[in-house]
Amino acid sequence: MTRRSAPLGRLALGALGIAAVIGVWEAYKAVAPDTGVVIGGTTVLPRSSDIAMPHVWDMFSRLSDPVIGTIGDTMWQTVLDAGLFTLRIAAFGWIIGVVVGFALALVMQRFTIAEAAVLPWIVLSQTVPLIAIAPLVRRWGSQITIGGFEWQSEHSVAVIAAYLAFFPVAVGVLRGLKAPDATHVDLMHTYGIGWWRTLFSLRLPASVPFLLPALRLAAASAVIGTVVAEVSIGLRGGVGRLIIEYAQSASSDPAKPWAPIFAAIAVGLVAAAFVGLLGLALKPYRRSEIPA
């Protein structure tokens, strides 16, 4: 394949993937009974009624109808706004997470004792259930006022996104910083080169193949963290809030709850594409990418 056709080919593959999902969905709907497949009182295959599985075209045509009543903003405008709102908070959270994760990795690489002390806590931090900490973060945050700055619920959501996002960065970058061959590090020592210069000349470039998958994971975590936190504390404006508000329409307007789900997927794709662009910028360093 030539350089120019490669991205086109990938796009075509992606479109094919989406078409396949739609095809499988509709095929199952056409073949399976409305009540699903029940064996011995247990449903082994899901229901395929219009309420449980709306037609794909119904989901899409719902996007062009107004959300409320017969006039006003259409569904796609509403979910697009919500998607942008969520994307912005997720990006915020991602940046905080990447900065914090990077800093932790640097400290852990520099001081072995820090690694021994901090790494277990970093791993432990990811076992705390999000729904438990989200209301707490909001409550603590609401007590913060610094000068003219007043803590808003969306800051809490960004913090929760960052809380999920820093983890893969901290772990991935730490591995990356330790990646250079011992002989290269020894060479630096022999020349009497200090830690900082070793870092910039050797360790950071060597960490790129580990950094990129970590950033990609962090982006996915930030988006998930944002949506879950939005649901949890009911932050207005984002995809998470629409998911809980539209959930109750699942019986009477079954296509409606799918709209914010599409928006969440779109946000995830944009986040992944952004990290992909970063990867292009860092191309010279991507000699051998390590899959996460």
Binding site: T35, R47, S49, D50, I51, A52, V67, I68, G69, T70, T78, F85, R88, I89, A91, F92, I95, I131, A134, P135, R138, R139, S142, Q143, E150, Q152, E154, A158, F200, S201, L204, P205, E230, V231, S232, I233, G234, L235, R236, G237, R241, L242, I244, E245, Y246, A247, Q248, S249, A250, S251, S252, D253, K256, L278, A281, L282, P284
Partner: protein
């Protein structure tokens, strides 16, 4: 090496620029809640859920300027899936909260110091609905059936009603119910929990696949806990017990209740406008569903026996008795001993009602007549 360094610096600069752009975007929308205006006292009210007509009176009071008339700048704090209003209130993050009495009784026993200062909803909106062919017209008929329940403190009226008819929690198959009525419509649930103002309407705005038309009230049997006698008190305004000793907060509480009641009077007299106010406040519910909810919530308040907001001693006692004596599927009760006397107070609502009556506001709504609302498919 030098070459690499420069490249690295360029990448770093790119990331820095990107983050600057993103953070600049981030700063743009912190608009809600910083409307500090002159000599108005800032007050925060925590709701149980996102904006919907269940809270129409408070939104109407904001929109009509009733709070401002009392010198209050009220900011309504929306709820979410994991927000517990009484916890937010007892932590001191808001000044007042809306919550159900049985849910708060449990919190009070665990140490929350809050007081029911106005019982806005006089009647319960919780029902258990079933299709006519299941023949479930009383709690006794639930025996052996698949019974839906949301849990999380929404199940006590159901359990009390069953207990009254000697149906144990183990005699039915409890099914966890979701936000939607899909489980009920698909037959996974024989009798589902439904709020008159919400889930009941969700069924009525769904197309019956057999007839191609919307379901109608004639298709359904409804067990109303008000009729069974196991209703518990629902939406009430809660205040911080300790702060009520402070005269400024006590006066503010009376003013807050007064303006809130005015908002509910507005919702009673202008249900269409009230529904529109809630939609303008950001509710995503469909037009006919919103109006239905406004109308049903009005029925829970009006006509009012003692004037809206007054806590009826008998109803309070019934709620407490059920909270003490009803066991759930794990054998637990809501509370193990009677709540302290500070759990409710009519002082502030009575003061508010006195002022309202002096202003000529009809706080009893004796002649109240609900409107007719036609639900459309999907609640649109």
């Amino acid at each position: 090496m030098k070459h690499n360094m420069r490249k690295w610096a360029r990448v770093a600069a790119m990331v820095a620029a990107a983050s600057l752009v993103l953070s600049a975007c981030g700063g743009g929308s912190d608009s809600d809640g910083d409307s500090t205006s002159g000599d108005l006292k800032q007050v925060k009210l925590q709701l149980q859920w996102v904006p919907q007509a269940q809270f129409a009176g408070y939104y109407a009071a904001v929109a009509q300027g009733y709070y401002k008339d009392e010198g209050l700048d009220v900011q309504i704090v929306e709820g979410g899936a994991d927000i517990v209003p009484q916890d937010v209130l007892s932590a001191g993050d808001v000044d007042y909260a809306i919550s159900w009495v049985p849910k708060v009784l449990g919190s009070i026993e665990k140490g929350a110091k809050i007081t029911d200062v106005a019982q806005i909803f006089e009647r319960s909106a919780t029902t258990q609905i079933s299709f006519k062919d299941k023949n479930i017209t009383s709690p006794a008929d639930l025996n052996g059936k698949k019974v839906g329940s949301w849990g999380f403190g929404n199940e006590w009226e159901l359990f009390a009603g069953m207990q009254k008819d000697n149906v144990g929690v183990k005699d039915v198959k409890l099914v966890q119910q979701a936000f939607d009525m899909n489980g009920f419509l698909a037959g996974d649930i024989d009798a589902a929990q439904a709020m008159t103002y919400n889930e009941y309407a969700q069924v009525l705005e769904t197309k019956n696949p057999k007839t191609g038309k919307l379901y109608t009230p004639e298709d359904l049997n409804v067990i109303d806990w008000n009729d069974v006698g196991t209703a518990m008190l629902q939406d009430a305004i809660w205040a911080q017990t300790d702060k009520l000793k402070d005269k400024a907060y006590a006066d503010q509480t009376t003013k807050f209740i007064k303006a809130s009641i005015k908002g509910w009077v507005y919702a009673r007299d202008n249900p269409e406008e009230a529904a529109k106010i809630v939609t303008a406040a950001g509710s995503q519910l469909g037009e006919s569903h919103q109006l239905w909810m406004t109308n049903e919530v009005n029925k829970l308040i009006w006509p009012s026996t003692h004037g809206v907001g007054v806590i009826d001693e008998a109803a309070w006692k019934q709620t407490v008795d059920i909270a003490l004596g009803t066991k759930n599927e794990t054998g637990a009760t809501i509370i193990s001993k009677a709540p302290p006397a500070s759990a409710y107070s009519n002082t502030y609502v009575e003061a508010a009602l006195k002022e309202l009556k002096a202003e000529g506001v009809d706080v009893d709504g004796k002649g109240y007549k609900p409107i007719d609302v036609t639900l459309k498919e999907g609640g649109k």
